[in-house]
Subunit: 315 residues, 2 copies
């Protein structure tokens, strides 16, 4: 089942999308559906993908993992820091902002923010009790989508230096138009799909989400639930999708035959490791980002397509 | 105006409390009232304080500051670390869990969690646009309450060592029964009230929330809004209320004539600084915590009164 949220108040109106048409769901919102609400379908109506809001505009919680440990290792390598060995068996996760922009909403930016994208896969859950096992967590994963975790790299070092995680440096992320139930996807705890990223029409990445994901989604959800109940309407992110090069080194750019990157930071890290300095700039006003995922040539979640805008011109 | 939320679904039912009776509000929930909903009052009904849920059971966002920099300095001093000078002019803040337990709900615990309370003051806001000034932020502060920021000290060093802030170590906090509009409080950006904390009937703290608060609430709210819009239904916490001793040193215990502490960690830090080791244990199953605030001998927000329970006995 492919689900989208159409504009209708802050939580929108949930529809099931099939072959160019849509049908409303009795329980009305994605939040209610995730909580086991009535999924009876209404009559067919038009489906205009470009009207979609985030598939879940307001979640009750967003916890973002770093399941592609290769990405974390590259970040550390580029700044000359060691990565703790425990990161290979103890997931890194932060509490993020649980309010999401639409897939076509602008990305606010300012000159010193160092604005970056991060293409991620995310799962939307029903209720998960505290202390759930990965098996229990797996059964609570009700839908999967794409997420663009906007990251303000210019603000991150200063903020992480304070030791309490991200606030300024992680404003609202965007979610894809569609969230899809696991049974309708090549999914076995990992999503076996290619995540495509373009910046200004040039391919930045075509990474495989099912490879190099050290922790699968049930493990991430169970990690999130260690000391708290997760309510229906929780979003758990995978962290930036990242693949190693087949030779074990950092991945090569797409135009050099590699799979490229799901964020500019990783591209810049690889430039730093290979050439001693980063050449690629952060996102600037007017830049356009496109993120989508494919399996067997089929688009899975619709397209996240955002333009970067100087933030005080937004209003 | 004094507002409370009575049980009625996950967001409850908002009432105005006056002299032993209550009156329902047309817009029904605290979330809707914070968003400028219809505040027309219904007929008088009974008011049973012990029935109250958290004054805002589900917020859209919780950002917790550390405005009492004295507390932060003590934490660092106890572990032999320097506190960066910038903490005196750049607020420390983390993204916390925005779902709150009721004032009488149990505190889940496990033997290795090192469970602690933290008595804080918090403000509930209407919408705050990105980039708001402190003056603009001040006008968006619609109500004030108490918050018990449950902190699992046994899990904090390991989690902060990973560099991405708190997840496991900060489960759901509790909010007081009442939230009160600023005009009905001794409030000028800081709350001029005494915060009382008892553990098992023994006074732990009677700190003054209006003193030693380096950053006032409008400054904290503006800090939170630097790169994001804050929706109506945002909670901004003060961090643990903490006073210095008049001689400039760490505060003395209540039974030694001081104002004591708003968390066990601070008591243990002072023990460590004075005696070389902490004597006071963390909270254990069966322990009872009471937190309330007074000004001019009047109770302001009702009582947070929680019992610690071994977590897997909760269900």
């Amino acid at each position: 089942m492919r689900l989208a949220t159409l504009p209708d108040g802050p939580d929108g109106r949930l529809v099931v999308v099939e072959d160019g048409s849509a049908r409303a769901i009795a329980c009305r919102t994605m939040l209610a559906w995730l909580d086991g609400g009535d999924a009876a379908l209404g009559p067919e109506e038009d489906w205009q993908p470009e009207q979609a809001m985030a598939c879940l505009p307001r979640a009750w919680q967003f916890l973002d993992g770093s399941a592609y440990v290769n990405h974390v290792a590259l970040v550390r390598q580029a700044r000359g820091a060691e990565m703790p060995e425990r990161f290979w068996h103890d997931p890194l996760m932060y509490q993020g902002l649980n309010l999401f922009t639409g897939p076509r909403d602008p990305i606010p930016s300012a000159p010193d923010w160092g604005t970056d994208l991060e293409a991620e896969v995310a799962v939307l859950t029903g209720p998960v009790p505290r202390g759930a096992t990965p098996d229990e967590a797996a059964r609570a994963i009700r839908a999967i989508c794409l997420l663009n975790d906007i990251s303000l790299r210019g603000l991150i070092p200063d903020e992480l230096g304070k030791g309490f995680g991200f606030v300024h440096s992680k404003p609202a992320s965007a979610l894809s138009p569609l969230a899809v139930t696991p049974d309708a996807l090549p999914y076995d705890g990992r999503l076996h799909a290619t995540v495509h990223v373009e910046v200004n029409g040039t391919k930045l990445g075509e990474t495989r989400a099912g490879e190099d994901m050290t922790f699968d989604f049930p493990t991430l959800v169970a990690h999130a639930a260690k000391t708290r109940d997760l309510p229906a309407g929780t979003v758990i992110g995978s962290g930036t999708v990242s693949n190693r090069d087949p030779d074990g080194g950092p991945g090569r750019p797409v135009d050099a035959g590699g799979r490229g990157y799901s964020c500019l930071a990783e591209q810049r890290m690889v430039e730093t490791i290979l050439d001693g300095q980063a050449r690629s700039p952060w996102l600037r006003p007017g830049d356009r980002v496109r993120i989508w995922a494919e399996a067997d040539g089929h688009d899975l979640f619709g397209v996240i397509e955002q333009e970067v805008i100087e933030w005080h011109k937004l209003d």
